[in-house]
C-alpha cells in the first residue's frame, strides 16, 4: 500500500510525519505547479471550485509515482467539498487510475470512524503507536506554524528581501527529515533564534493585515500567487485566520491543546451571523470581528470563486467593516486569476490603509516583537 494525500500548504510534512510513524509507505505528490493545475482543469468539471481541480492534479501526479491509496477529507454541511472525494473517485476511475480512496470525515462528528480508518491504514498497530504517530504529526504541525508566524512578522521588516523565507525553507526541510519529537522542538527553537537575528529595519512603519477566508485558499500559497510574500514585500505583517495546527487541534484533538481556536472565531461572528453556513463562512465573519478588535489595520478575505460559504460571509462583511471600523477587501481565485490584477488590488488596498492611518502609537508595540 502506497498512501498519498492532497497538498494544502505544509500539510504534506505533517501527513508524511504521521504515516512514517505508522509504518505506512507514503507518496507525497510533487509540489503544486502549473502542470498540476493543468491536469486538474483538463479532467474536472469547469464549474467546480479550484481546490477540487488542484487536488485532482495532485492525485494524478501521485499515481504516476506509484501511489495506490488516497487519504482525503470529507465534510459536512453546505460546502461542496464534502462531496468532492466521491467526485474524485469517479473521475480517477474514468481516467483508468486504480486508487483505493479512504475518506476521513471530520473527526469531531465521526470520531470512532477515524480510529477505525487509522487502524486499517496502519495494519493493526497498537493504540500506543497510533498515539505516538499523532504526537509526531502534531509536533511538526505546531513547529511549522510557530515558525511561520514569526516569518510573517519578519518579512515586512527584513533589510534584504527573502532572508526570512530562506530561513523558513531551510527549517521546513529539517522538520520534514526529522523523526524525533525532541529534535523538532530544537529545530523550532533554533529557527526562531535565527529569525530574531535577521537584520531588520525597526523604524519602518508596518501595517497589520489579517488574511481570512476559506481554509484551502488561505493555506495553499500556489492558489493565491503567494499573497503573503507579496504583502510582506509591501510592508505588511500578516496573520491568518486559520493555521493548520489550530484546525488539527479543533477537529482532531477536541481542543485539548492550548492554542487559539477557530471556535472562538465562530462565537465572535454573533450578532452578525448566528448560523453555521458551511465551510468556514462563520469563522470568516468572526475572525474579521476578532482582528478588528485586536487593532488590525485591515483584512483580506480569500476564497475560491463560487465558494458558497464565503459568498455568504462576503455579503455580511461590509456591515462588520463599518461597525468594527476595519476595511475589508474580498478576492476570489480560480484558474483564470492573474497575478497583475491581484498585485494592483493589494497595492491599492495597502496604499489606502497607509494614507488613512496614524502610526505613531503602533510602532512602540512592534518593537517588542523581537528579542534584539
Amino acid at each position: 500500500m502506497k498512501v498519498t494525500f492532497p497538498h494544502m500548504g505544509h500539510l504534506s510534512i505533517v501527513g508524511k510525519g504521521l504515516f512514517d510513524q505508522l509504518g505506512v509507505e507514503v507518496v507525497v505528490p510533487p509540489p503544486i505547479t502549473k502542470k498540476t493545475l493543468k491536469l486538474g482543469i483538463e479532467h474536472a468539471q469547469e464549474f467546480s471550485c479550484l481546490p477540487l481541480k488542484i487536488i485532482l492534479g495532485n492525485f494524478i501526479e501521485a499515481a504516476e509515482l506509484g501511489a495506490d491509496t488516497i487519504v482525503t477529507s470529507g465534510g459536512v454541511g453546505p460546502c461542496r467539498f464534502g462531496y468532492y472525494a466521491q467526485v474524485h473517485r469517479e473521475i480517477l476511475q474514468d481516467l483508468g487510475y486504480h486508487y483505493e480512496i479512504i475518506v476521513v470525515e471530520p473527526p469531531d462528528t465521526h470520531f470512532s470512524e477515524l480510529i477505525q480508518k487509522i487502524s486499517y491504514l496502519s495494519n493493526g498497530k497498537s493504540l500506543f503507536q497510533v498515539a505516538r504517530a499523532l504526537r509526531m504529526g502534531w509536533a511538526k504541525a505546531r513547529a511549522i506554524d510557530v515558525i511561520e508566524q514569526k516569518v510573517q512578522q519578519v518579512r515586512p521588516r527584513e533589510v534584504r528581501t527573502g532572508t526570512a523565507d530562506d530561513v523558513f525553507q531551510w527549517s521546513l526541510k529539517k522538520i520534514d527529515a526529522e523523526n524525533e519529537i525532541k529534535k523538532i522542538w530544537e529545530i523550532q527553537r533554533k529557527t526562531l533564534h535565527e529569525l530574531d537575528g535577521v537584520p531588520k529595519d525597526m523604524e519602518k512603519t508596518v501595517l497589520k493585515i489579517a488574511v481570512i477566508g476559506e481554509i484551502y485558499t488561505i493555506l495553499e500559497p500556489f492558489v493565491t500567487f503567494d499573497i503573503e510574500k507579496h504583502l510582506g514585500r509591501l510592508g505588511v505583517e500578516v496573520s491568518r485566520s486559520i493555521y493548520l495546527s489550530e484546525w488539527i487541534n479543533d477537529h482532531l484533538f477536541m481542543g485539548l491543546m492550548r492554542v487559539r481556536s477557530t471556535k472562538e472565531a465562530a462565537q465572535m461572528a454573533s450578532p452578525y451571523l448566528r448560523h453555521f453556513v458551511g465551510g468556514h463562512g462563520r469563522e470568516t465573519v468572526g475572525s474579521a470581528v476578532r482582528y478588528a478588535r485586536e487593532g488590525y489595520h485591515g483584512a483580506i478575505q480569500l476564497a475560491p470563486l463560487t465558494c458558497m460559504p464565503e459568498i455568504v460571509a462576503q455579503t455580511i462583511l461590509p456591515v462588520v467593516s463599518a461597525e468594527e471600523e476595519m476595511p475589508v477587501m474580498t478576492i476570489y481565485f480560480d484558474e483564470q486569476s492573474g497575478e497583475a490584477g491581484l498585485v494592483t488590488r493589494l497595492e491599492a488596498f495597502i496604499e489606502m490603509l497607509y494614507r488613512k492611518n496614524d502610526f505613531g502609537k503602533r510602532r512602540v508595540q512592534s518593537e517588542r516583537l523581537f528579542r534584539n
Partner: protein
C-alpha cells in the same frame, strides 16, 4: 523651468502630464499604446521635449498596467497603482469629492473618498462590459466614429432596454433590437444605460455613493455615458477638464511628493527617449512552473526583470548587471 512628469501607460492609451510646482497642468498628452508601451513612452517624452525644450524635471511618477516598465525606462521616483493615482488626482482637482467613477480601456474602478482619503474601492473582476474597448468595438460595428457615439445617445427619445450583464449578450441583444426596427439613437442610449447598470451592480455593491461624484477616464468623453450615470445616480456628474489623463496627473503629484521626500529625482533625463530599450523574454526551467522571465535591457545592460513566481529573478533588480554576468544562466532555456 521646474516641472514634474506623470506617466500612465494603460492597455489602450499612454498618457503623460507635465505639471508645475503648484500642480498646474502645462501639457497633457494622450496617445494610443497600440501594444507597444516602450515606443509610446519614448514618443511621449519626445513630445514634451519638443514643446518645452528648457524644462527641468524635478520628479517623475508612473502608473497604469505598464507602470513598472515606465518606471524603469524613465527612472521614476514613485511607481503607484492606478487606483491611488486616480484618487489623488480627483481629490486635487475637485476638492471635497466623495466618489470617483473611472472607466478606462479595459478596466473600471469605483473609488470612495471621505475627507480627502480613499476609504474603499472596487475594480471590475469578471466582466469588462462597459469599458472603453467594448464601446469602441460597438461603435465600429455600427459604423459610427467613437466621438459621435455618445452624442447620438443624447438624441434618443426612448432608450431601449438592453441586457448588459455580459458583453457578448449585450451585443446579441443590440443586434436583436436593431433587427426589430428600433431607432439607432434609442439603442445606443439603451446600451449606455445597460453599461451603467452593469457598472453599478458589479462595483457599487454595498457602497454609499455620495456627491460630489467625479467621472473620469477615457469613457467620460462619452456624453451618453455621462447622462446615463447622472440619471442612474440622480445627481450631477462632474467631468474634470483633464478627465482623460487623470491617472498621469495623479502620478505627477505622487512623483513630486516622493522626489521631495528623497531630496531629488531619479529621472534618467530625456536621453531616456534615445535609450535602446527592449524587452527579452526567456523561459526559466528551474522548476516545473516554467515562468516566462522578461528582462528589460538597454544594449548589454539589464535594467530590470520580472515574471517569476519564486522571486529569484526579480531579486536581481537591485543589482544592475550585464547579460555576461548571468548568475542563474543554467535555468534558462535559451541561455
Amino acid at each position: 523651468m521646474n516641472a514634474y512628469l506623470g506617466i500612465d501607460v494603460g492597455s489602450v492609451s499612454t498618457n503623460l502630464v507635465l505639471t508645475d510646482q503648484s500642480n498646474k497642468v502645462l501639457q497633457a498628452i494622450y496617445i494610443r499604446t497600440q501594444g507597444q508601451p516602450i515606443v509610446s513612452i519614448k514618443k511621449c517624452l519626445g513630445m514634451v521635449l519638443k514643446k518645452h525644450p528648457d524644462v527641468n524635471i524635478k520628479g517623475v511618477g508612473a502608473t497604469g498596467s505598464a507602470r513598472q516598465l515606465a518606471g524603469v525606462i524613465t527612472g521614476a521616483d514613485a511607481i503607484k497603482n492606478e487606483i491611488t493615482a486616480h484618487a489623488v488626482a480627483a481629490s486635487t482637482l475637485v476638492p471635497g469629492v466623495q466618489t470617483v467613477l473611472e472607466i478606462g480601456g479595459q478596466d473600471s474602478k469605483l473609488i470612495i473618498i471621505r475627507e480627502g482619503v480613499a476609504t474603499d474601492f472596487a475594480m471590475n473582476t469578471v466582466c469588462a462590459a462597459g469599458t472603453g474597448s467594448f464601446l469602441d468595438q460597438q461603435a465600429a460595428r455600427l459604423g459610427l466614429p467613437i466621438a459621435e457615439f455618445g452624442q447620438l445617445a443624447q438624441k434618443a427619445t426612448l432608450p431601449v432596454r438592453i441586457a448588459g450583464r455580459c458583453a457578448v449578450f449585450a451585443e446579441s441583444d443590440m443586434i436583436h433590437k436593431q433587427q426589430s426596427g428600433y431607432a439607432l439613437a434609442d439603442i445606443v442610449a439603451g446600451l449606455c444605460e445597460a453599461l451603467v447598470r452593469n457598472y453599478l451592480n458589479n462595483l457599487g455593491k454595498g457602497k454609499r455613493i455620495l456627491g460630489p461624484v467625479v467621472f473620469q477616464g477615457g469613457v467620460a468623453a462619452n456624453p451618453g455615458m455621462r447622462d446615463a450615470f447622472s440619471r442612474a445616480l440622480d445627481r450631477e456628474i462632474i467631468v474634470p477638464e483633464y478627465f482623460h489623463v487623470m491617472g498621469a496627473f495623479g502620478a505627477a503629484i505622487i512623483g513630486k511628493e516622493e522626489a521631495g521626500r528623497q531630496g531629488g529625482t531619479k529621472f534618467r533625463g530625456f536621453a531616456a527617449k534615445n535609450l535602446d530599450v527592449a524587452a527579452e523574454s526567456k523561459e526559466c526551467l528551474g522548476c516545473p512552473n516554467h515562468c516566462e522571465i522578461v528582462s528589460i535591457v538597454n544594449g548589454e545592460q539589464i535594467l530590470a526583470r520580472w515574471g517569476d513566481r519564486c522571486g529569484k529573478w526579480s531579486a536581481l533588480n537591485n543589482a544592475p548587471m550585464t547579460s555576461e554576468e548571468e548568475p542563474l544562466a543554467h535555468d534558462l532555456k535559451h541561455a
